[in-house]
């Protein structure tokens, strides 16, 4: 400290010494063993005596390996300097704007930046390992727990303070205060209400409606059953009028699959005692299923012609297209909903109606 006071000379008088009666300066940062050098014996750590201040080892002289290391460190930093200049040169000199130019620029910039970092890292590491004298210090680990006296004093003052606040004594104030904070706590949640509209029944409907044309995804052209004549084929369909509407497509995307005669088995169920065909909504062995997986909504995009299996690439739910898209493997709980098909006056495939059940993932209100 004496050094520090001396050099402060020009700035003014040295730091004033402590005035008698004022509290001693206390360290403000989290440190080790605060307050124990003065009163260590009194604060419950009586058994521990602060060890004498350890000193770092003296740097005696420079052995030959240190002077070698010094050169290596300097080389590392020099290389980092050169690479840093190289980075700036590459930034200035190399334009981007095409894939090739970007890759060249990325290579030059990334390489030079890597060398900068490696040079600095290696230099610093060799410096600390080879040039600094090996030092090991020992510190006492103090228990974080405050001495019992301090804890009691704290508890006493806290009790005093609480008593003085009369928080306990005056229930009317206490309870009305708590009451006042209840709506306050609810406000942050309430104001989130306008984050979005309520769902109502919107998840139950798509934009498919009677007579809406099926357009081929990509070309956006309507299609007749004759045009889609190759058995085993699968194409993705979007609804006419919504070809660029992502919100509509997220529910209304459809797979169109053509079967050979006799391959497609229409699901049946017993209505009372008579077996009736359900979902008898196909045209010319062409069937339309929702493309949105009933698991968590990925597009079911993989179709295996020989087995008629539709596979979701996300979680491998597998649906049998020949039997009403029933689930044969994976986490999807339901078949893919089928879109009722028919043809319009021009012979184009159109939807007979919307899906008869909600498409996509399960939700609480689905039922």
């Amino acid at each position: 400290m004496s050094d520090m006071e001396e050099v402060e000379g020009p700035e003014g008088p040295a730091a004033p010494h402590r005035v008698i009666g004022t509290p001693p300066p206390t360290p403000r940062l989290l440190g080790s063993g605060q307050g124990t050098e003065d009163g260590g014996a009194a604060d419950g750590h009586g058994a521990e005596v602060e060890p004498a201040e350890e000193r770092l080892p003296e740097v005696s002289d420079y052995p030959s390996h240190a002077s070698n290391a010094e050169k290596i460190v300097a080389w590392c930093f020099l290389i980092a300097f050169i690479a840093g200049c190289g980075f700036i040169a590459a930034y200035v000199g190399l334009e981007v704007g095409s894939v090739d130019a970007t890759l060249r620029s990325n290579l030059a910039l990334g390489f030079s930046l890597s060398v900068v970092m490696l040079g600095l890292g290696l230099g610093a590491l060799i410096w600390v390992r080879q040039l600094m004298p090996d030092a090991e210090l020992t510190e006492i680990r103090h228990a974080p727990r405050s001495p019992e006296k301090e804890r009691q004093a704290f508890a006493e003052y806290f009790a005093e303070g609480t008593g003085a606040s009369q928080f306990v004594k005056r229930p009317l104030v206490r309870r009305t205060l708590l009451l006042a904070t209840l709506p306050l706590a609810a406000i942050p949640i309430v104001v989130l209400r306008d984050l979005g509209p309520l769902p109502y029944t919107s998840l139950r409907h798509t934009v498919w409606a009677p007579g809406r044309r099926l357009l081929v995804y990509g070309t956006n052209q309507p299609i007749t059953s004759a045009e889609f004549s190759a058995p085993g084929g699968m194409i993705t369909i979007v609804p006419d009028g919504f070809t660029d509407d992502q919100d509509a497509l997220a529910k209304a995307a459809v797979l169109l699959i053509k079967f050979r005669p006799g391959e497609l088995q229409v699901p049946t169920r017993y209505d009372g005692s008579t077996l009736i065909g359900t979902m008898n909504w196909t045209v010319d062995n062409i069937v339309a299923y929702s493309k949105i997986c009933t698991h968590v909504g990925c597009p079911v995009a993989l179709y295996e012609q020989t087995t008629h299996h539709i596979l979701c690439p996300c979680h491998q739910s597998t649906f049998d297209a020949a039997t009403g898209a029933t689930v044969i493997f994976g986490p999807a709980p339901r078949p893919l909903p089928q879109l009722p098909l028919t043809v319009d006056a021009q012979g184009y495939l159109v939807s007979k109606s919307d899906f008869t059940q909600p498409v996509g993932p399960s939700f609480w209100e689905r039922g």
Binding site: V7, G110, G121, T236, L249, A332, S362
Partner: protein
């Protein structure tokens, strides 16, 4: 009072220091900080990797935010990437292409950002495992541990939102899955999804909302938590690995200034170099190849970043279970993968320190880490958790595994469905036995010393191998084992026939069982050969603190003629 004979602080530095101390004080406290001791071990660098990856993330993320446009508004692209010329896409995707191809160093920054995010999560996982297996989470460091687990969980969310921002085809699938999972939450799920997305999926609200969560909300919380984490590490001091000069009372290591400061700065540069090298030579997330997001298309082998893999695997593994009742749907095929693995992993991590305290009844401070073998139940549980996580994670790439290894896809999933139950169990049993086996090896070393490979013939013709007793350093490591105290057996009674209070009831019984499992150990015999230091502690006794003074006793020459004493010349072979 100069600190070194070589160096005297220049006037400007000393003057500045004096000026600051006049106003804020703190010379003493800061001196103590500068002299703060850091115990050394390679595994203590893992947390630093996470810290420095976070710093790199902040630096590169700030750069990216200058150019990224967080908007779902559609535009027609006419930029430098000609393959997508004329394609409709969101501004978010278009601006990501611009960062990649039209901003100098933009691609490098994007790739460093993504690589350091992966490094952040990977180093957190390894750092967490190190702290678990060495018992570094024990009193007084439970809160530091809890904060770390929360950082891990927030990191998952931060990463998910981050890689989803470019609005490319691959990450869009991830967001679609997020929506499907939200819908699967009973009662509030549909509302949660509608409020997050501002209506039906996908809408236009999700990108700006993810953006502000990704660049402000979560990083802000992470910054606060990381700061608290570091302050606690500083304040409570670092743990030490078992060694001769590390006890629960003293720690030994190099001081912060200049040693640790220089080392950790070097380490920062190395971490940055690793990210920069990866970003230069290893392409990551080439969004221009995936194309802009549309909910209608997807590519095969869609995988999230590695840290989301275990949740993805859980979704893939689950069979199709769903309940419909009273007009409502509970989709267990979404709910269980969403809640159960994460609940087991994160819940387990959060509760473990307190469970262990409850089972061992150990309320004392622990500053010296355990060697994993010396806590067989903890280590076995940890390995079981690793296997559980690993099976989920591998199943997250089941299609790739099936493709590369030519195993049928469904077989891979079925193997995972079996392994998720059997794997952790087997891992637990095997690991526990390995731990006890390694303890037996330690016992052997302490009681009989190390086999030297030197054979000596005794006067009666018998050949024996010379054992060298452990030296002080080796002995300190081996003897650092601490065994939890054994509680009264469940249902046991004291001399008055009163059952021990903590052993009553089902909870007491469970605690007794857990306690006996934790207290199991290989006892080192007190009169073992070459062990002049009595350490035959039965389970239940706390080991006495080993001070340097006590340790030096153990080098007293031992009368056993078969032992080679380190201070003697090695015996000649006869």
């Amino acid at each position: 009072m100069t600190s070194s004979d070589d160096f005297k602080a220049p006037r400007w530095l000393a003057g500045t220091g004096g000026w600051l101390d006049d106003r804020f004080g703190g010379a003493r406290g800061i001196r103590q900080l500068l002299k703060k001791v850091f115990p050394d071990h390679w595994s203590f660098m893992l947390g630093e990797i996470a810290l420095y990856s976070f710093v790199i993330l902040l630096l590169t993320g700030t750069f990216l935010s200058f150019f990224f446009v967080p908007s779902a508004a559609e535009i027609v692209y006419h930029g430098s990437y000609t393959k997508l010329d004329g394609i409709r896409m969101s501004q978010a995707y278009a601006s990501t292409l611009n960062i990649s191809f039209d901003v100098r160093a933009g691609l490098l920054m994007r790739q460093i950002h993504h690589w350091s995010a992966d490094l952040f999560m990977a180093s957190i996982i390894v750092h967490l495992l190190r702290n678990f297996f060495t018992g570094a989470f024990r009193k007084p460091r439970e809160v530091t541990w809890l904060i770390g687990v929360v950082i891990f969980m927030l990191g998952l969310l931060e990463g998910l939102f981050g890689y989803s921002l470019p609005d490319d085809q691959l990450s869009g699938a991830g967001i679609r899955i997020l929506e499907g999972v939200l819908l699967g939450i009973p009662i509030v799920g549909t509302y949660a999804a509608f409020f997050l997305f501002g209506g039906q999926y996908p809408g236009t609200a999700i990108i700006p909302r993810m953006y502000i969560i990704h660049v402000l909300l979560i990083p802000g919380i992470l910054l606060a938590l990381i700061t608290a984490h570091l302050i606690f590490v500083f304040y409570q001091k670092h743990t030490a690995m078992p060694a001769i000069n590390q006890t629960d009372r003293i720690e030994t290591g190099q001081p912060f200034y200049p040693y640790f400061l220089a080392k950790t700065t070097a380490w920062f540069f190395f971490v940055f170099a690793a990210c920069a090298i990866l970003a230069t030579f290893a392409q990551i997330n080439p969004v221009w190849q995936y194309g802009p997001y549309t909910p209608i298309a997807i590519s095969s082998a869609s995988q999230p970043d590695f840290y989301m893999g275990f949740l993805e695997g859980a979704l893939r593994m689950m069979p199709a279970w769903e309940w419909n009742f009273l007009g409502h749907t509970i989709s267990f095929s979404v709910l269980i993968p969403f809640a159960v693995p994460a609940g087991i992993i994160f819940g387990g991590l959060l509760f473990w320190p307190f469970f262990e305290q409850w089972a061992t009844g150990d309320r004392s401070y622990h500053h010296v880490n355990d060697r994993p073998r010396n806590a067989p139940i903890r280590t076995a549980t940890g390995i079981a958790g690793v296997v559980f996580y690993g099976v989920l994670w591998a199943e997250g790439a089941n299609d790739v595994i099936a493709d590369k290894l030519q195993i049928p896809l469904y077989t891979v999933t079925w193997i995972a469905r079996v392994l998720i139950f059997v794997g952790p169990l087997v891992a637990f049993i095997v690991t526990r036995r390995i731990c006890l086996g390694l303890q037996r090896k330690d016992k052997e070393l302490l009681e009989h010393g190390l086999e030297t490979g030197i054979i000596r013939q005794l006067p009666d013709g018998e050949f024996v191998e010379i054992h060298r007793p452990m030296n002080e350093e080796e002995r300190a490591i081996l003897e650092a084992k601490k065994v939890p105290a054994l509680m009264p057996a469940p249902g046991s009674e004291d001399e008055h026939g009163v059952p021990a209070p903590k052993s009553r009831g089902a909870v007491g019984w469970a605690r007794g069982v857990a306690n006996r499992a934790f207290a199991e150990t290989v006892v080192v015999e007190a009169d073992g050969h070459g062990n002049g230091h009595g350490n035959g502690h039965a389970p239940g006794e706390e080991y006495a603190e080993l001070g340097p003074g006590e340790l030096s006793e153990s080098s007293v020459p031992h009368p056993d003629p078969l032992l080679w004493h380190p201070h003697e010349e090695p015996p000649e072979e006869s």
